[in-house]
């Protein structure tokens, strides 16, 4: 019975595909899977925008949207209709072709990244041998779309935003990939399906998730910080910076193209949260043996919602960083910690299991964190800023 519920979507797809003529079956299977992913995650995007606005309102001691539907929860429908019917304004000086293509170039790789995420048992669109590599390749392609948007708008704020976004994405991509590599080192595979399978056992009352090891915990925290920076979320939302550069690279976009940028940003956040779940939080596995009867996709979605709520909480709590703080944090704190974490993961592999391994690896995580953190926050380092070009 539990198996039937767990595999209900897989069996439903097989049943539906079975109705097609034999020649069209592969195509029908692909279209069904893709439509499912697009539908589910675009729907999640709609729901999350409302939850985010309500949550931020609660944190900031105001109501948030409360007019459309019960408690304002149909606000996303109103927003959708508004963006769909709004006039699409293109600046006269803009490069029309690139301006038109930029939102598409952002959304397409973001959707493509979902192809390798395991959403549940037997629920992966393509089981690529180098799935993790594919994910990061798709993530890297979005940088060019950001540049296209900023450059083609012929607006200095848009170009500033694009420059900031690209500098930030490239800087934080390094700790992101380095913290993910620890999992690859310990699993011995780039395939996300296999990485999830390895985390599927239980040791006592704790599951064998990577986050419950010293290197995994450090990797998870580094990964989530870098993920927030990659998806331009607060406190790393300098590329948008409403109070400084208005809205960054999508300042000259309106109507549905703006909605596409918004969609791409949120879907990128979901995808990278899904990757964090896959790498560190055991993928679709249940957190305890006696909970394995709950279907796998429910666990994936529950973990995804938890991470999204964490992102919303962080956004409502932390102020925006300054540009120099952003770069210092990436290169002087995150990068050394991620490199040391590689060493920790290697030691974890070679030292036999036991208390000694836990002690050494935990010391290797906590010690550098304390030392580097002190260097980052010491107050006597504040000197008068020297401007090279602005005097």
């Amino acid at each position: 019975m539990t198996d039937a519920i767990d595999q209900i979507f897989v069996n439903l797809k097989h049943w539906l595909v079975g109705w097609c003529p034999a020649d069209l079956q592969p195509l029908a299977s692909i279209i069904l899977s893709v439509a499912m992913v697009i539908g589910v995650f675009a729907g999640l995007f709609a729901v999350v925008t409302v939850i985010e606005r309500k949550g931020l309102g609660r944190i900031q001691n105001r109501y948030g949207p409360n007019r459309v539907g019960p408690f304002g929860f149909l606000q996303f429908a109103a927003d959708g209709i508004k963006t769909l019917t709004k006039e699409d304004i293109v600046p006269r000086a803009a490069d029309r072709v690139v301006h038109y293509l930029a939102p598409l170039a952002l959304v397409m790789p973001v959707f493509a990244a979902y192809a390798v995420l395991p959403f549940g048992r037997n629920m992966t669109l393509t089981e690529l041998d180098g799935g993790l590599l594919f994910f990061f390749a798709m993530g890297a392609s979005t940088e060019l779309a950001v540049f296209m948007a900023g450059w083609s708008s012929r607006n200095k704020y848009a170009l500033f935003g694009a420059m900031r976004a690209i500098a930030q994405m490239i800087s934080y991509e390094i700790p992101l990939i380095l913290s993910a590599i620890t999992v690859v080192m310990l699993t011995g595979s780039l395939s996300l399906v296999k990485i999830v399978a390895v985390q599927g056992t239980y040791a006592g009352w704790l599951p064998d998730w990577n986050v419950f090891t010293p290197w995994g915990f450090a990797g998870f925290v580094l990964f989530m910080i870098a993920a927030a920076a990659e998806s331009n979320r607060s406190p790393f939302d300098l590329p948008e910076g409403e109070s400084e550069i208005i809205a960054g690279y999508y300042i000259e976009y309106s109507g549905f193209k703006f909605a596409l940028f918004f969609l791409g940003e949120y879907l990128g956040m979901f995808a990278i949260s899904g990757l964090a779940i896959t790498l560190f939080l055991g993928g679709w596995h249940a957190p305890a043996v006696w909970l394995t009867w709950v279907p796998s996709y429910v666990w994936f979605m529950a973990k995804l919602m938890a991470l999204i709520l964490l992102f919303i909480w962080v956004r409502g709590t932390l102020p925006r960083l300054r540009q120099d703080q952003l770069m210092n944090f990436a290169w002087k704190f995150m990068l050394p910690l991620a490199l040391i974490n590689l060493l920790t993961a290697g030691l974890w592999h070679f030292i036999p299991p036991g208390g000694v391994r836990w002690f050494i690896c935990s010391a290797l995580v906590v010690g550098p964190y304390l030392m580097l953190g002190q260097g980052l926050t010491s107050p006597d380092k504040a000197t008068k800023r020297v401007y090279r070009f602005a005097d």
């Binding site: 490069d95 690139v98 690529l128 041998d129 180098g130 590599l133 594919f134 990061f136 390749a137 798709m138 993530g139 890297a140 392609s141 940088e143 060019l144 540049f147 296209m148 450059w151 690209i166 490239i170 991509e173 011995g188 595979s189 780039l190 020297v386 401007y387 090279r388 005097d391």
Partner: protein, 165 residues
């Protein structure tokens, strides 16, 4: 050859032609990155997964960003030059000579006359094993070179003279 190869080849060639002939340099760079994507797709279609994905990660994610930044920081894109420059004849002649030499060399090499071996299934794991055992020295040398280049770039960028008041 499957039809997907022809589609990808047409896309890559069209994008490369656009990169060579468009008037705006940023457009050229964007067309070039489309050509990179087309090449990566060809690799993927040949089951060379690692090469194809690394091609996207490195070329589309990093090299094309480098190219557009270099264009933005050095050029003024208002100044457009005539399509046919006075070097066009010499350029065409050089290109023809290079093409001839390459054709001759490829035709003479035993590579074209050898029977194709069965395609090896090079998985990412095999590539990783080879890099870490057989080619580890080359890998370390490249790593050293890249580190030296990185430090050099940082030192050049750090060049910080006191602004004259």
């Amino acid at each position: 050859m499957p039809p997907s190869f022809y589609i990808l080849a047409a896309l890559t060639i069209a994008a490369t032609a656009a990169a060579l002939s468009l008037r705006n340099l940023v457009h050229c760079a964007l067309a070039l990155s489309v050509a990179f994507i087309g090449l990566a797709a060809v690799y993927l279609q040949l089951d060379a997964q690692f090469v194809g994905l690394a091609q996207i990660l490195v070329y589309v994610g990093a090299v094309s960003i480098l190219v557009v930044f270099a264009i933005l920081l050095t050029r003024n894109d208002e100044a457009t030059k005539p399509l046919v420059s006075r070097f066009s004849v010499a350029g065409a002649a050089t290109a023809l000579v290079v093409l001839g030499v390459l054709t001759w060399a490829i035709d003479k090499s035993e590579f074209t006359h050898r029977k194709l071996p069965p395609a090896p299934a090079a998985t990412v794991r095999q590539i990783g094993d080879a890099l870490m055992t057989h080619y580890v020295l080359a890998l370390e040398v490249i790593a050293l070179l890249l580190t030296a280049a990185l430090i050099g770039a940082v030192i050049i960028a750090m060049h910080n003279e006191e602004p004259k008041s």
